[in-house]
């Protein structure tokens, strides 16, 4: 059977079409203000990529912060459940998955079957989410995509002490005024996000293998910051931003069969 998993996040909407555990097509569009329209659009893209029509899809499942507004289904799975299922499908050895999106960070400890054992959210602190990286890239006057590569050129670790995104921004401005090299500031920003996420990961506990998913997993500088902070390798699956949608598609298939 063909199932669709739709992940309606704060910044983007993602769809994965799945048949017998194989991904047939994917689609990603910005969430925008009209998430229903964006959700329709992302499904359209995924269908086009798979060369399918919507009638072929037998089961839908929504996840993400906007999952209750999915126009195709009432069936839903939480972001935590979807992340655990999705990662288990692509990396069976994974026992801890860290999901850092635009709005929040999540740490999930799971077993060999992708069942959630414990979880934690970092939802109150913007300094531990992707939006903070975006704001800091703006302060450094570079596109977000360049923040990670720039940070990899850093020569030294510059500590950022502010606990809050607003104060951290003024700290960045001070570093700029002090003529701190921009690559060092970029690394400081990503290290700061990673340290907040890692304290949450330590709360739920972790063991090998650790995977990083969500939009921030696409940032190579952030991945390095996480590796340094956790003092271990961190796996980034292919298309890390689609893992939630994949987990939802798997849940839809389980529900329908």
């Amino acid at each position: 059977m063909i199932s669709a998993g739709i992940d309606i996040g704060a910044k983007t909407v993602k769809t994965v079409l799945l048949e017998d555990g194989k991904i047939l097509g994917k689609g990603l569009v910005p969430a925008g203000l009209d998430t229903v329209a964006s959700t329709k659009q992302t499904l359209k893209r995924a269908l086009a990529a798979a060369g399918l029509t919507v009638e072929k899809v037998e089961g839908f499942m929504a996840t993400g912060t906007g999952r209750k507004s999915c126009p195709f289904t009432d069936a839903e799975i939480t972001e935590v459940g979807a992340a655990a299922k999705g990662i288990n499908h692509v990396l069976e050895s994974c026992r801890a998955v860290i999901d850092v999106g635009a709005e929040e960070g999540r740490a999930v400890r799971c077993d060999a079957k992708g069942k959630v054992i414990d979880f934690a959210f970092n939802e109150k602190c913007a300094a531990g989410a992707g939006t903070f990286a975006e704001g800091m890239a703006r302060a450094l006057e570079i596109p977000l995509e360049e923040l990670g590569p720039l940070s990899l050129k850093a020569r030294q670790a510059v500590p950022m002490n502010a606990q809050c995104a607003v104060f951290a921004e003024s700290e960045v401005v001070t570093l700029i005024h002090n003529k701190t090299p921009r690559e060092d500031i970029a690394r400081a920003v990503l290290d700061a996000i990673a340290s907040r996420i890692i304290s949450m990961v330590r709360k739920v506990g972790f063991e090998k293998d650790v995977a990083l998913i969500g939009g921030m997993a696409l940032n190579p500088g952030f991945v390095e910051s996480m590796k340094r902070g956790l003092e271990m390798d961190v796996h980034v699956p292919e298309d890390p931003e689609y893992i939630g949608a994949l987990g939802a598609a798997l849940a839809a298939a389980e529900q329908t069969t």
């Binding site: 939480t78 959630v116 414990d118 959210f121 939802e123």
Partner: protein, 438 residues
Amino acid sequence: MADKAKYKTAPLKCWKKAKELRLKYYEDYAKAHERGGLRWAGGAWSFSAIPSGLGEDVWSLTSEPYAASIAFDKDFSLRCLEAAEKASYARDLCAYMRNYWGSIILNEYAFGGPFPKPDFIWQDHICCSHAKWYQVVSDLEGGIPHFCMDVSVGPYNEMAPHKIDYLVGQMHDGIEWLEETTGRIYDDDLLIEAVKNEFRTTSTWAEICSYNKHVPAPLDEKSMYSLYVLGTLNKHDRQVAEFYQELRDEVKERVEQGIAAIPNEQCRLMSDTQPPWGFLSIFRYMEEFGAISIGSLYTFGLIGIWEDKPDGSWGPRATPMQQGIDIKDRDQALRLYADWTLSKPEWQHFYSPHLKTEMMIRIAREWQLNGILLHYNRGCEGLSVGIAENRLGLIEAGFPVMAFEGNMGDEREFDEARVKVRFDTFMETLGLKKNGKS
């Protein structure tokens, strides 16, 4: 939901009476002077039976439940909190204390009319806030005589005669102080009656909570809040002691007849510390998943007095009267009273989070729980100290735990939508879906 009903339910027959007793308590306090009586204020932890020896026309206002009543009324609470902040009291202080001070500053009583100024303050020191709470009340009110007891003698499992002596000595001093302050002659018979009432109230409450070991639970925690509150107001009062016995009989009958608190119980949880009073609807939200909170160490042990039973289970402590002790004089009454109160479960964890973890694990096992909800309560330094440690202990003991942040008395620090998202996730990890589907 109806088709998911596994158990029959019925409203509590005692419910109306509990509400009436609570309202009467607040009204009695406000009208005390009209009746020629006395008013005193102090914490719900204070040795409240002692001022009863001053006469039958002495009424109290206990601070924490009064502040919780304010917190329940979100608009009034916000005005109180803002008034306290405007008066320069910091926003990170005990939220109950800020609500209470705000009510004095605004001169508005949550139950109507101006704030009724107490004639004296009768307090003890459990946490750091207790030490300051009534100093500020007295300052705000232009000076009120204040007696305070130090109870920091360590946990009950390390009790020793000299520790009881330390408390009893202060109690004797307190009685002399009460006589001097009020100009009244102290009546030991009234004291003895009040402590006996308190033994009955607190033991019976533990017995009521024990009935929740039964599956399905006859009571849910949200309802228990409206019942246990009487023990925080007036546990030394004969009417409260009698009400709890009536309630105990009804709960026993519910168990015998298989009457459940919720019709679709399939997951048993407990909470911890005071709930966010302005958002008790989260308990009803849980019920949509077939999850019930059967209580907590807080609901069981703030009022209930417990002991180990011969079969190893936790049950109501046998009162001195049940043990055949005849209370004859002031000193004997005070000694028994000190020993009894120091065994209160909620006092123990002020000394060590490990003692709390042990009690929580015990509840989780004996009450057959599937999971635990921990409230990282920013409003109460006293009860939230060590919660992260408790979490680790509970997880190690094999219980799924969900922690959420909030504040029992400051709604600005509780994010309802986010907390519900956490509930959704926790319920999913426990294999539960909305409307009782599993």
